[in-house]
């Protein structure tokens, strides 16, 4: 079965869009982090697709790189969320708005 690359790209765009909306719409920082992962993975999908389309391994390498970075990012992100909300009963980014103006 051979799926046209355009479809993968379209899927990645949809994923990306969902990720953006997720960051904007969700108040739970964990879900926001997940949405960010979605952004990265949407890019990965596109990269891999194009790598195949152009027959260029650079895209694959790039994707691996992104996966590594995303892992580090998730680790740091979770740590920061944990530190920030350690004493809070609920996890809500809108509560964190002391810095403004």
């Amino acid at each position: 079965m051979n799926v046209a690359p355009e479809n993968y790209v379209a899927l990645s765009a949809v994923l990306f869009f969902i990720g953006v909306v997720g960051v904007i719409a969700r108040r739970n920082p964990l879900i926001m982090l997940m949405s960010i992962e979605l952004l990265f993975n949407a890019a990965n999908l596109a990269l891999v697709t194009y790598a195949r389309a152009w027959v260029n391994n650079a895209g694959h390498i790039f994707a691996f790189l992104v996966i590594t970075v995303a892992a580090a990012e998730a680790a740091i992100g979770l740590a920061i969320v944990a530190v920030t909300f350690r004493k809070e009963p609920f996890v809500d980014v809108d509560e964190v708005s002391a810095l403004r103006g």
């Binding site: 953006v20 904007i24 980014v93 002391a98 403004r100 103006g101």
Partner: protein
């Protein structure tokens, strides 16, 4: 070199006395007088050079090519220099006595010397800029001396008025200079007179003359720029004698005489100047009839007499006009100094209504004033008779019958108010002790007659007393020329006419045009004078009039027409038409336009910036999701741009 000395000695005096006055104390007066005296003598030594075929012209320096300066002593400036230094010297001597009680004795002489310097600059200059410098500096000296008692608000105001009105004159001369420089590129008299015919169109020539005449009118108190002169009487009396009678105010006459070639080439200007002169003569004389302040009477008479001179030089009778200046310098100085003796003796009383009967206490003053009055009225044999006659007849000779008529009538009025002065002051009983209100004096302090507080440290009762020799000697000396100088111009080939033979351009239509002979004219003038005297005698001098003097003065004061009291409302008109609008406009600029119009724009811009700053601040909500939204919004905009820019073009 001697001319430098003549010119600069008074300056040395002025600056030196100003700087070292406190150290010199009472020596200031003699030193100042001596310097002017030396200047006078030096001028006499220069007589031969000045009257030589080629007049004395000393270069001083130059600003630009064509703008070179120098001193010129020719016949005309010689006459003026002699009067300035000669009469000036006498008045300086007189002032030593007159100002003896004043705290600022040295400063007074500094100013007086400075004035002499300035006046010499004016008359000795050989170019228009130098003339203007002198013109401005005499105005300054006049300002200083009018405002000499600067703690008196009236004096301060009078000084400022005199200065500002004189600046109006200055700009007239400046305007003339513009035209001259624009046409000729230079400022020297020689250059100007050599090119009168070729460089200017008649219209331009008229404009030059008009500009110059504005200067004359301001300096010589010609209508409509005359109203500073009566106010200038706030200054000490010797000042009035020197500056506001003998010399400075006649600078206008000098100017017209100096620029005779221009005037002679511009008949329109001549008509204008003659008419203004005659108008001033009669208007001043009429106002002279309505004054009570002895110095203001003399001031209006000065205005009127200068009107004669201006009329004379204006219509082309230059030597007659200049001659009237000469005689006037003597008799008017005489009158002022005589009045000064009275004022000094009465502790600064100047209101003639509060005088009376002074003939007995002050015979010397009476004699001095009497000679002066006779001379100014044109009584035959005295100086004023000859000069006035020459001017009056000159009007007829040059074909101006209307001016002639005005001049004759003015002669009569002159006799009237001068004898009125004499009778009220010297005849009858002394009224110094009479309550001012009985004399109709409502506001003594406003009449300008109140003794100035603080000027005399020691309080003293007004008591008529004889003057010291320092004051009487100059007056006595002045009596001689007042009587005799007129004979210089006796006859058709007089010494005076010879002196100026060929100096002035000849009037367009000389003798022969006159419908009546000079003798008939003289008789007419004398008739007018006699009528004037008779009326004055009947109203003020006759025994019956003297008996009811107090009541009479009272009714006359109360019934005086407003138009005369207010000097034809010139001041009020200036106030309403110029001063108030200027101040209102200035106030509007200062208090409305600047802060509320111009600044408002800038202020609004600054406030808007602040407001925007706060607006952007309010966008910064601190909500991370909102920030993410703006981020996404920005991305959307950029994507939209690329879609538009590159999407359609494929």
């Amino acid at each position: 070199m001697l001319l430098y000395l003549v010119w600069l000695l008074p300056l040395v005096g002025g600056v030196g006395l100003w700087a070292f006055g406190p150290q010199l104390k009472s020596w200031a007066g003699p030193i100042g007088s001596a310097l002017v005296g030396v200047s006078f003598i030096a001028t006499l030594f220069l007589w031969r050079d000045a009257t030589a075929a080629r007049a004395l012209d000393v270069p001083l320096g130059s600003w630009l090519p064509g703008w070179s300066f120098g001193l010129l002593l020719d016949r005309l400036s010689l006459i003026w220099t002699l009067i300035i230094t000669g009469v000036g010297f006498l008045i300086h001597v007189y002032s030593i006595g007159y100002m003896d009680r004043d705290r600022a004795f040295a400063r007074f002489f500094a100013y007086m010397n400075f004035f002499v310097f300035a006046m010499l600059t004016l008359v000795l200059s050989d170019n228009v800029i130098g003339l203007l410098v002198g013109w401005g500096l005499v105005g300054l000296a006049s300002y200083f001396l009018i405002g000499f008692w600067f703690y008196k608000p009236t004096a301060v105001a009078a000084a400022r008025k005199a200065f500002v009105m004189n600046v109006v004159g200055d700009i007239g001369i400046m305007f003339a200079i513009f035209l001259i420089v624009a046409k000729l590129g230079g400022i020297g008299y020689g250059l100007i007179f050599a090119n009168v015919g070729s460089a200017f169109t008649p219209h331009e020539l008229f404009l030059v003359c008009l500009g110059l005449f504005i200067g004359c009118a301001a300096k010589s108190a010609q209508i409509p720029l005359h109203s500073w002169l009566p106010d200038a009487m706030e200054g000490p009396t010797p000042v009035s004698a020197l500056i506001h009678a003998a010399t400075m105010v006649t600078a206008g006459v000098y100017l017209v005489a100096r620029f005779a070639p221009l005037w002679s080439a511009s008949p329109d200007a001549q008509e204008l100047v003659g008419a203004i002169g005659a108008l001033t003569a009669i208007a001043g004389a009429i106002l002279g009839c309505a004054q009570w302040d002895i110095k203001r009477i003399l001031a209006y008479s000065t205005m009127s007499q200068i009107g004669y001179m201006i009329m004379g030089v204006g219509i082309g009778a230059y030597d007659a006009g200049v001659f009237h200046f000469l005689t006037h310098a003597f008799f008017k100085a005489q009158l002022f100094l005589g009045a000064g003796i009275i004022i000094h003796a009465l502790a600064d009383e100047q209101d003639v209504r509060r005088m009376g009967g002074l003939r007995k206490q002050m015979p010397f003053a009476f004699a001095a004033m009497l000679v002066g009055v006779l001379a100014i009225s044109g009584v035959p044999g005295l100086s004023g008779f000859f000069s006035k006659d020459a001017v009056v007849y000159g009007a007829l000779q040059t074909g101006h019958p209307w001016l002639y008529a005005v001049a004759v009538v003015t002669a009569g009025i002159t006799a009237y108010y001068m004898f009125r002065l004499l009778f009220v002051t010297f005849f009858g009983a002394y009224r110094g002790a009479v309550d001012p209100s009985d004399l109709g004096i409502r506001h003594p302090e406003l009449a300008g007659t109140a003794a100035s507080p603080g000027h005399h440290p020691e309080e003293e009762e007004p008591h008529p007393h004889a003057p010291g020799w320092l004051m009487s000697a100059p007056v006595a000396i002045l009596i001689v020329p007042t009587i005799a100088i007129g004979w210089l111009d006796f006859g058709s080939n007089s010494a005076w006419k010879q002196f100026f033979a060929g100096f002035f351009p000849r009037a367009a239509d000389a003798a022969g045009a006159a419908p009546i002979s000079e003798a008939v004219s003289t008789l007419l003038v004398l008739l007018a004078v006699a009528i004037g005297f008779a009326v004055a005698y009947a109203r003020y001098g006759a025994p019956a009039a003297l008996r009811g003097a107090i009541a009479r003065l009272r009714t006359e004061t109360i019934r005086m027409p407003g138009v005369l009291v207010n000097a034809y409302y010139f001041d009020a008109a200036f106030e309403a038409l110029l001063v108030r609008p200027a101040r209102a406009l200035g106030g509007w600029f200062d208090r409305t336009v600047d802060p509320h119009v111009i600044d408002a724009g800038v202020r609004e811009a600054a406030i808007s910036a602040q407001w925007l700053g706060h607006l952007f601040r309010s966008f910064q909500t601190g909500l991370v999701r909102a920030y993410a939204l703006t981020l996404a919004f920005g991305v959307a905009c950029i994507v939209a741009y690329y879609a538009l820019a590159f999407g359609g073009g494929r």
